[in-house]
């Protein structure tokens, strides 16, 4: 077994994800299959191989940094309209600091 129920719960906590007991069981089984399959990668020797994080820099050579210029975007009202609990100009969240 590659992954235990406890592992799934630990990872779900890291990802701020509430999972039902049933979900934990199903995902554990699925992830076990997938991780077992991924073990295939151990068949190849990658010593001396550099990791590839981004293909475009190599092919186009221009993900250069640009000047940091301030551009005004007057979208606060529109953004807040989509928020579940807005209090202009803020987003309201449950209390995080005790009195």
């Amino acid at each position: 077994m590659k992954i235990s129920k406890e592992d799934v719960l630990k990872v779900a906590a890291l990802a701020n994800l509430e999972l039902s007991a049933e979900e934990v069981d199903t995902y554990r089984a699925h992830l076990d299959d997938i991780l077992t399959y991924i073990d295939k990668l151990n068949e190849i020797d990658t010593s001396g191989v550099e990791p590839l994080t981004q293909v475009v820099a190599a092919s186009a050579g221009d993900s250069a940094l640009r000047e940091d210029v301030v551009v005004r975007a007057d979208i606060i009202t529109e953004v807040l309209q989509g928020a579940p609990d807005p209090e202009a100009p803020y987003f309201r969240v449950p209390r995080v600091i005790e009195k």
């Binding site: 992954i3 592992d7 799934v8 990872v11 779900a12 890291l14 990802a15 701020n16 994800l17 509430e18 999972l19 039902s20 979900e23 199903t26 995902y27 699925h30 992830l31 299959d33 997938i34 991780l35 399959y37 991924i38 295939k40 990668l41 068949e43 190849i44 990658t46 191989v49 550099e50 990791p51 590839l52 994080t53 981004q54 293909v55 475009v56 092919s59 186009a60 221009d62 993900s63 940094l65 640009r66 979208i75 529109e78 953004v79 309209q81 989509g82 928020a83 579940p84 609990d85 987003f91 969240v93 449950p94 209390r95 995080v96």
Partner: protein
Amino acid sequence: MSAGATWTIPEVRAALDARKISARELVKDFYARIEKRNAELNIFLALSPERAYAQADKIDAAIAAGDALPSLAGVPVAVKDVISTHGIPTTCGSLILKGYRPPYDATAVTRLEQAGAIVLGKTNCDEFAMGSSNENSAYGPVRNPVATDHVPGGSSGGSAAAVAANLAVAALGTDTGGSIRQPGSFCGVPALNPSYGRVSRYGLIAYASSLDRIGPFAHTVRDAAMVMSVIAGRDPRDSTSASVPVPDYAGGLERSLHGLRIGIPDDYFGEGIDPEVRRKIEAGIALLEKLGCKRVSIRMPNTEYAIAAYYIIATAEASSNLARYDGVRYGPRVPGATLIEMYQKTRGRGFGAEVKRRIVLGTYVLSAGYYDAYYLKGQKVRTLIARDFREAFEKVDAIVTPTSPVPAFRLGERTANPLQMYLADIYTVTGSLAGVPGISVPSGKTSSGLPVGLQIYGPAFGEDRVLHMAHAFEQAGGQEL
């Protein structure tokens, strides 16, 4: 004009020029078609008639004034629901973004509209583009217009189906591991995944940022080429967009294929390929040879590791990208006693099963103690797969493969086993990892009438080559093989 007829982009232009139809009448006709078929096919999640008619009236005014029209004037298009559209609901097929209206447009959408295209609405897709069948949408699956008890493919199934069902002239999809090409293959329409960096990702809601790309579906390769010339090119708002010059793709279509070397990777024709698909691809390769291509047998030795590397990298990036859905700034919130509990409940209920599975896997492969064994290993294997392509393109001009090992399958047939669903992405994830362009073009049908797609890969920024090859293939009757 007969009801529900196919319109290509040049046909739209000719009809507008001849005053046979106005842009407004054309839009009205497409909304009538959508009205008639959407309940059954479930292709559109949101329609944008106000914006569409305003744009149509602008085109009609330009025609009345005798102004020169831009290249896509009056062309009704559909946009996948992971691409931001100002003020038009954009949910990514997820409950967690239910009711979200982006405060800005994606660059690809802006460019389409600047070229005169008319956005009809947003198309259904697998939630956050994660899936190969469209069955992961929170709003129900799309049905394949070719065979309505079958899936349209995924994740851009709604965009592929919109074109196939004549509910749009062209559509934008996105591709991370095959999500443009595979539904194009399943629905029988040309579908292009451009090189990474060719089309701006600004406004594309991220799944896996190092892999995500935007590309077109259309009725013909020429139409796909015309859309590409509009959406491609450097955008200062996407630092990964390349400043490689954009050719006139449609202008380069009528060249001969004579002498082009096509690489056929032996490694792509092993176990798991449906015998009917294999036959149609063999027939497709024979047609390319008849058109003057020279067939060369090649090896892509790291192909069998592509799926594993892809699912590590894509889920790792997804777990990070999807951290932003926390019930604070957009979408519904599920209340909790504490901030963390609110996050957990909102995310636990807002995300569907496949998204949660991928977040858990992605978080796991990035977590302390596993990073080197999984994530770093996956990125090193990605290097080897990119090398396979680079070395192949030293010997050949293009690589020809099936798009998918299977034709469209029945709804519900493959949902029980996620790994089995992942494995069918084999021919598309390789090119995704390497960053190269790939087009899927119809290559005959199975005995039960299901379309088969032939994939042509070109070197990075070689869209012109894959488009011109696919065009010749299409003109030579590839669809009827």
